[in-house]
Amino acid sequence: MNEEDFAWRKIGRRWLSRRNLICGAGAIAGAGLLRPRPVFADDNEHATCVLANPIPGGGTPFKPFGVVVHHNPLNAANRLAVANINDPSQITDFDGFVGLTNIHGGGTGTNTVTGDSTILAFRADMGFSQGNFIGVDGRQHEGTFAFV
């Protein structure tokens, strides 16, 4: 590991700590959204989220910078050859429905302070997973997730 890698890993750990807090906050908002078990190991506010595990594959688009992206983007060349797709799920140890889309379009952006608006373009990589998964706790859960 070179010094740069080490520096980025340290940064990653610092952010992981912050993200763990975000996870806790998000889980409070999301309590009860997963069925039939709640997302918490218990009900106290310091409880750990019951997280899913990522698929093993993926890539690092900005290597050596940035995190590993455990996601297989759809390739439009496979639109009429869906047998060639990679695993479209972001979650491993998963049994259920998965939807994924790569779509583009336009819309209107508005500065809500000035009221000025402008036409903007977008491209979205979105989807969902709904079904059973083995969480980091080693137990089976049922859940519904949006890929945003």
Binding site: I11, L80, V82, D87, D95, V98, G99, A124, T144, A146
Partner: protein, 143 residues
Amino acid sequence: MHIDSNDVFWMTPVEHDAVQVEFDEARARLKVDKLRVFDDHDLANSLTLGMGLPGDPGFPYPAIAPKAPVRATVSFDVEWRGIADMAEIHNSAQTFKGTFYSTGTTIKWSAEQPGFRFESETPDPGRNLISVLGREQNGVFFT
């Protein structure tokens, strides 16, 4: 959207009825209203956790300034329908299998954060690049 603390990419739990699937009809709908997210500004800042890219010589990426994430809400209504292709896949290398449709898709979405609002155009099936709907098993469910 942030990557969660277990490195699952851009997934967030939503209510069960946010997703409706009629798989045999190759139809599905994802509808979420006012989901609280972080707007990371751009892909580079999302994947570098707000550190941007240095643009140093030797790396094939432009310099992208660090940007802190901003709280936002997004609403979206995505519909998968219409079969363009179908396949049964059994992929031992990636340990996933299932039935997969290539489908049409439309999307209607909006986003709001302090000082800014976005509203997408009327849903247009012609905007789909590729969409997939599948019933799959992977990892320990792959046998």
